[in-house]
Amino acid sequence: MDEKVLEKLKILAESAKYDVSCASSGTSRSHKSGAIGSAAGWGICHSFAEDGRCISLLKIMLTNYCMYDCAYCINRRSNDLPRATLSVTELVNLTIEFYRRNYIEGLFLSSGVVRNPDYTMERLVKAIKDLRLIHHFNGYIHMKSIPGASQELVNEAGLYADRLSVNIEIPNEASLQALAPEKDFKSVFAPMRYIQQGVLQSAEERKRFRYAPRFAPAGQSTQMIVGATADTDKDILHLSSALYQRPTMKRVYYSGFIPVNTYDNRLPALTTPPLVRENRLYQADWLLRFYQFKVDEIVNDAYPDLELDVDPKLAWALRHPEVFPVDINKADYEMLLRVPGIGVKSAKIIIVSRRYANLGSEQLKKIGVVMKKARYFITCRELPTQTVNEVSPETVRQLLTRKTGKKTDDRQLILPFID
């Protein structure tokens, strides 16, 4: 361990940073004697980078040499950037020493493709196998499965990694072929299917034999780049929704496109990444996973893109004023979740506390409901207020998207006028 490793660490972290995933959730494993560490089921962020993203894992590439030339990737072979390769010992040492100091939850290992997918995958598997079997590392490991790698290697990786992932990157095959000529959907979806098969098979075996090995217990995740191609939010979200239908897909990440080179004119020349759009996609993703929304309700042929100035749930509510107002003291959980300003937590609190007494707007505010939004969509104990049906959806939209800065007096009755 010396200054040379420091230099490599810098290069390889720079190369790995565009992978969004840094989750360490999904596996709960307590300490085993003779081993190092544990895995906390909910995941812990040990630091936050200056861009506000969670640092939970040591996110690093084994090597950033790559034979592929994918236009959106920083490590494409035609990019001129410093290249480095870590040895397995160096990687293991870094991981364990960082881990012992409570810097990280574990390792996120990825790699550029050298020689061929199988060769690369083999080296990755070797690294995490060493970490688990020789160095008895019991923390979290997330490993990238290389597109095009064989099923045997994926099966072996699943025994040592907590989560495996393959990135789709581009949500439609034609664009993917245009930007990454060496890849196609088959090479991406095949490893995904192998992972799924492995997980399901191991779950089946564990029903019969308690100590049968676990296979990637934290499932799999994937990532899509947003804004590099002309794909609409409808394309992206329909693909996500289809992926979530599969039993092992835990997360789909969206990554606002950041130009990694200036010479490739197949890609748009953005000055800033599309951060708002990315945020709206995550919000829509949450609606799919936790708010019981169907993808067609969020984006469809009439509304192929998410609106940028209001969040997808509010947008849905404004398109469907007929289902509101919702009575807080009577409505069922599914309906409460649909109210803008009420999240999963407040919906649950409302359900349990309204058994004791009817709830009023003051209590809702204290519970954590965002009354600024919710008040146009609910009725509660008090006299009915102006809901979205009395004032029109357009006015509600205006009221809620008004630029803050001018503080209005909440105690004053506001009569909206439409011009």
């Binding site: 420091l6 307590s30 812990i44 012992r100």
Partner: protein
């Protein structure tokens, strides 16, 4: 106004609940021994902490509210906020008096307030788990200093014991001047009469630092810098997730 004077321990509080029910007088104010009395009061009653009485109140509570809410009471107590004892007193009284559990009645201000403090303490516990950093000393002990706003060190212990079970460590609360030392077998509470510089500043001085410690700290620092995407810098979000009060003891922000 009726005042109960007790020793500011959780057992003391439970004893106060017991005594209040047996005397059928309930306090308007709880004071620690030695705290100044208010100008006007009717009666001041001294509570003598009794583990058996505390135990009985706890047993009674176990029949009334769930395990998780019970642990919530102790967590709320660790907030050490000035009014928290009276709040918990009212909570416990409500729990005992009601025929069915009151723990989910978040329409009640005391129960909501308790739930909120519980959450705050829990968040602080999580932050300490996230952001405490070990430094390795020459004798192989890993040392970490923390200065949390609530007394959450006891709540962090299960995490540290499970995760760092094969290394000796000392986690020390600089504010409350106590810590826990783990010697590969047991965890013991430690207080120091004479404090070395690292027990005051929270940082190991270079002469007792392991020889590789500096290198790993600078590697982590370098990694931290490299992993941020320049195009997406967001200092507000950064501070929101990782409040500046933790930075002093984190190598990447020092």
């Amino acid at each position: 106004m009726i005042i109960f004077i007790y020793d500011k321990t959780f057992e003391g509080l439970l004893t106060a609940v017991f005594d209040a029910y047996s005397r059928r007088t309930f306090p308007d104010l709880l004071l620690a021994e030695g705290e100044p009395f208010p100008l006007f009061y009717d009666e001041a009653i001294q509570i003598y902490t009794d583990d058996r009485k505390a135990e009985r109140v706890w047993k009674g509570l176990e029949r009334k509210i769930s395990k998780s809410s019970l642990s919530g009471l102790t967590v709320t107590w660790l907030s050490e906020l000035p009014e928290v004892d009276m709040l918990l007193f009212r909570y416990i009284r409500k729990a005992i008096d009601a025929p069915a559990t009151i723990e989910f009645n978040l329409g009640d201000p005391d129960i909501l307030e308790t739930a909120k403090i519980w959450k705050k303490v829990n968040n602080e516990r999580l932050r300490v788990m996230q952001f405490f950093r070990f430094q390795k000393a020459t004798d192989g002990t890993y040392f970490a200093a923390i200065a949390p706003i609530y007394n959450v060190l006891p709540l962090v212990l299960p995490y540290a014991q499970d995760r760092f079970a094969d290394q000796q460590w000392l986690i020390y609360d600089l504010k409350r001047e106590y810590g826990y030392y783990y010697d590969l077998k047991d965890t013991i509470e430690v207080r120091f009469k004479e404090k070395d510089s690292h027990l005051l500043t929270g940082l190991l001085s270079e002469d007792i630092m392991d020889k590789d410690e500096k290198l790993f700290q600078s590697m982590w620092k370098e990694y931290f810098k490299s992993i941020a995407i320049k195009e997406r810098l967001n200092p507000r979000l950064h501070r929101q997730h990782m409040p500046a009060r933790f930075w002093k003891y984190m190598p990447e922000k020092r």
